[in-house]
């Protein structure tokens, strides 16, 4: 392995993918996976702040028990907008479409994704879908929540649901095309020697995610079309007045949307596997088991959707079956967590910005994941369903897990994407602020849920004692917002002022660090790639300790003794 020399001064290469063409057309018509990743990064961040705005208004409303700021209708539209934008336009595309697009082809030694034009089409579908959805918000909003349960969405609601669903349909096809692209790429574009069990876990995770996307998304897409048909043409499929079953919609929706939560978290888990191994300077513990658990999660994830429907007139028989299966799906997630922790154990952990995000991820995912079985056990879920407990559960996983993973990965690959280092001080600070803000925001929601506060209500004058928790949560949300805004500034600043990172600032293994410049060339590699090394071969790196010193880690006790 070519090892970067520590402390050396680096230069940005003369020609790389960013300065290979400066016109707007060279960006908007690009077929380069790295440029498309940058396009995605911009659009996804924009949607994140749109969704964040809605969230801020929701939190503002909840500071008072009387719901004084908005009417019920306005509040419904706010939380729906928040959920729709965050789920379909931020978390689902964030890691695969930004980090995956950028890193996946390089990691397997390919010059590009298999179908570059299809990749660009994905981005356009995403943008058009997002614009349509935003239009539907401007024209009056959507009030059925991100879950669009019938018959509310198909018969009763008189908001812009049809238009919004058209946008979601397009966004769905955007992710399907990304999935198809990843599948073909991982199967056929690997460099010689890059066998399945040498793949970095980020690739495994994106591959499994793509399978879920390809199998699940069309189901929800067609279900949403059925809702559109019911609304606009007055067809009847889920209509109870015709003897149809509105709960069937929930079945079909969750058949996709439970696996979709793994679409959100699996790629983030892949990021964590990369990072934890790099910053513990140690081979990932139990490579095979982690790969296996990735695939197992993807498969079992399709077997548990009924746990969202325990109390929507699903039969008790099905409820029990799904309850059991739900408890099983927690096992592979636990396997991963144990492996990450064991990787850190006796490793020499370096507390860089990405690593702090990783530690945040592991802790928060643990809490979020462990509350899953509570919700999955029917008897317990009777009390918890429809309360803030559920809200806290999935925010711990999606915000504390997926977004932390995304930010960690972004900070990890940022030097590779743009060739410059950001300010490590501000980076660490932002990671800490996010972690603290997050806990203040969402931990009180567990208590609220336990006390019985229902989700999707905008007043609670009947229980004013909840106000203190809600105020805590809203205050935490403002801290969290600051934490999310900070990277916007220091990362942007790094593009101009950051010191050149050099090909491998972290001393990481992997083709993207060792065989490409930062930023990479348009064709990624200057040489022909043949992979011989095992993955995460950190034990073979001799200057691990120097890397740790460089990033400010003190030698461990046992290390001092051996010195």
């Amino acid at each position: 392995m070519s090892q970067a020399v520590i402390g050396q001064r680096h230069e940005i290469p003369d020609l790389h993918y960013l300065n290979n063409g400066h016109t707007i057309a060279s960006w908007l018509l690009t077929k380069d996976h790295k440029r498309i990743a940058v396009l995605y990064l911009i659009s996804v961040s924009f949607m994140f702040f749109v969704g964040g705005l809605a969230a801020a208004l929701v939190r503002l409303e909840l500071t008072s028990p009387h719901g004084q700021l908005f009417t019920s209708e306005q509040y419904n539209k706010l939380f729906s907008a928040h959920g729709i934008v965050m789920v379909f336009f931020f978390i689902i595309p964030a890691v695969p479409a930004v980090l995956g697009n950028f890193a996946l082809p390089i990691m397997i030694g390919a010059k590009d994704l298999a179908f570059p034009r299809l990749n660009l089409l994905s981005w356009y579908l995403y943008v058009v879908g997002a614009l349509i959805v935003l239009t539907s918000f401007i024209l009056g909003g959507v009030d059925a929540g991100w879950t669009f349960y019938t018959p509310l969405s198909s018969i009763y609601s008189n908001t812009q649901i049809s238009l919004c669903l058209v946008g979601l349909f397009l966004a769905g096809f955007s992710s399907i095309f990304t999935g198809v692209n990843f599948i073909a790429t991982v199967h056929k574009m690997r460099a010689p020697g890059m066998t399945w069990f040498k793949l970095p876990h980020f690739v495994w995770a994106n591959y499994a995610t793509s399978l879920i996307i390809v199998l699940g998304t069309p189901v929800v897409a067609i279900t949403l079309v059925l809702v559109i048909l019911e609304r606009t043409l007055k067809f009847g499929i889920f209509s109870p007045e015709l003897g149809g079953d509105p709960v069937l919609f929930q079945h079909m929706f969750w058949f996709y949307s439970h696996p979709a939560v793994y679409i959100m978290i699996l790629p983030a888990m892949g990021v964590i596997s990369e990072l934890v191994s790099c910053f513990s300077r140690r081979r990932l513990f139990g490579y095979e088991m982690v790969a296996f658990s990735t695939v197992a999660i993807a498969a079992i994830g399709f077997l548990v959707w009924g746990h969202h429907m325990f109390f929507s007139s699903q039969s008790v028989l099905q409820g029990i079956i799904f309850s059991l299966l739900t408890l099983i799906v927690a096992v592979p997630s636990a396997i991963k967590t144990f492996n990450w922790v064991l990787t850190m154990y006796k490793g020499s952990v370096v507390f860089t910005t990405p690593m702090i995000y990783v530690l945040g991820f592991i802790g928060l995912f643990l809490v979020g994941g462990l509350t899953g079985p509570y919700l999955g056990a029917v008897a317990c879920d009777v009390h918890l369903t429809g309360t803030y407990f559920v809200v806290a559960h999935f925010h711990f996983i999606m915000v504390g897990g997926a977004i932390m993973g995304f930010l960690g990965g972004l900070h990890f690959w940022w030097p590779k994407m743009f060739g410059r280092m950001y300010s490590e001080f501000w980076g660490r600070l932002s990671a800490l602020v996010v972690f603290i803000g997050f806990n203040f925001t969402f931990f009180p929601q567990f208590i609220l849920g336990y006390l019985g506060m229902p989700r999707r209500y905008h007043y609670y004058y009947f229980a004013p004692e909840w106000q203190i928790y809600n105020i805590l949560s809203s205050a935490g949300a403002s801290v969290l917002a600051i934490g999310y805004l900070m990277p916007v500034f220091y990362l942007t600043a790094s593009l101009i002022k950051g010191k050149p990172a050099g090909p491998n600032p972290w001393g990481a293994t992997g083709l993207e660090w060792n065989k490409t410049s930062s930023p990479p060339d348009t064709h990624n590699f200057h040489e022909k790639i043949v992979v011989t090394e095992p993955p995460y071969n950190y034990d073979a790196i001799s200057d691990n300790r120097d890397y740790r010193k460089m990033w400010g880690g003190e030698p461990l006790e046992w290390e001092k003794e051996t010195v």
């Binding site: 590009d112 699940g216 043409l233 007055k234 003897g243």
Partner: protein, 228 residues
């Protein structure tokens, strides 16, 4: 293997820059197409699921509803689509054997069949609009001059016709997309190369078209041939 930068041989397929060999490129395109077809199967699969649920739920009644559909027209269309699929398979074969003329003729034949399919569909659908059998607000059951008994509950009839129009409609949409795809394929083949270089574009359009046929193979018995 076609080397990069070397003069392009008009008889050899172009290897795009992200691939190493033509075999790799061709197989990749096939994998991509097949994983897209997985999506398509799941998309129609969800509708088939809804169908089977209601068919099972209203098993006595679906027979009466389906009597308004003409199994003769449907049968004709099945035959037609099977034949078009056959032509498409021949087109792919001709392309592989580099017989440009035959390829064009077979593709043209496939398009003709596709148009016949749409015409027959129109013949079936248009009277349904007049007879208020389209499940919009003006849906009416029993029909004024029923072909069959006209029995069964009007509500369930509406579900049946919603399914019928959604599923055959989505399938019809795929036929239209197929026509567009084949047309583009023919134009591109004519414009781009004097001799056929790569059979993969034809193969991919072919896979798509066979899939359209595949869906109809199930739609026909499920809607037109319901047993009593």
């Amino acid at each position: 293997m076609a080397a990069h930068g070397a003069a392009i041989d008009p008889n050899e397929p172009v290897v795009y820059e992200q691939y190493e060999t033509i075999e790799q490129q061709q197989e990749t395109y096939l994998v991509g197409m097949w994983s897209f077809l997985v999506t398509e199967v799941m998309m129609f699969g969800a509708l088939f699921l809804v169908y089977s649920l209601y068919r099972w739920k209203f098993r006595g009644e679906f027979f009466m509803f389906h009597e308004e559909l003409s199994w003769q027209w449907g049968g004709l269309n099945t035959m037609n689509l099977l034949f078009s699929s056959f032509l498409m398979a021949k087109a792919v074969q001709a392309t592989q054997l580099k017989r440009a003329k035959a390829q064009m003729w077979y593709l043209a034949g496939t398009i003709v069949c596709a148009f016949i399919f749409l015409i027959i569909k129109a013949i079936e659908w248009i009277p349904k609009f007049e007879h208020h059998l389209v499940p919009t607000a003006s849906f009416h059951w029993p029909p004024h001059e029923p072909h069959g008994s006209g029995g069964g509950s009007p509500e369930h009839a509406k579900i049946f016709y919603s399914l019928y129009f959604t599923m055959t409609g989505l399938h019809g949409l795929h036929v239209v997309i197929g026509i567009i795809a084949i047309t583009i394929l023919m134009v591109m083949t004519k414009l781009k190369a004097k001799a056929i270089t790569d059979y993969i574009p034809t193969e991919m359009v072919g896979l798509y078209w066979h899939f359209v046929d595949l869906v109809w193979i199930f739609l026909y018995p499920l809607f037109y041939l319901i047993p009593r």
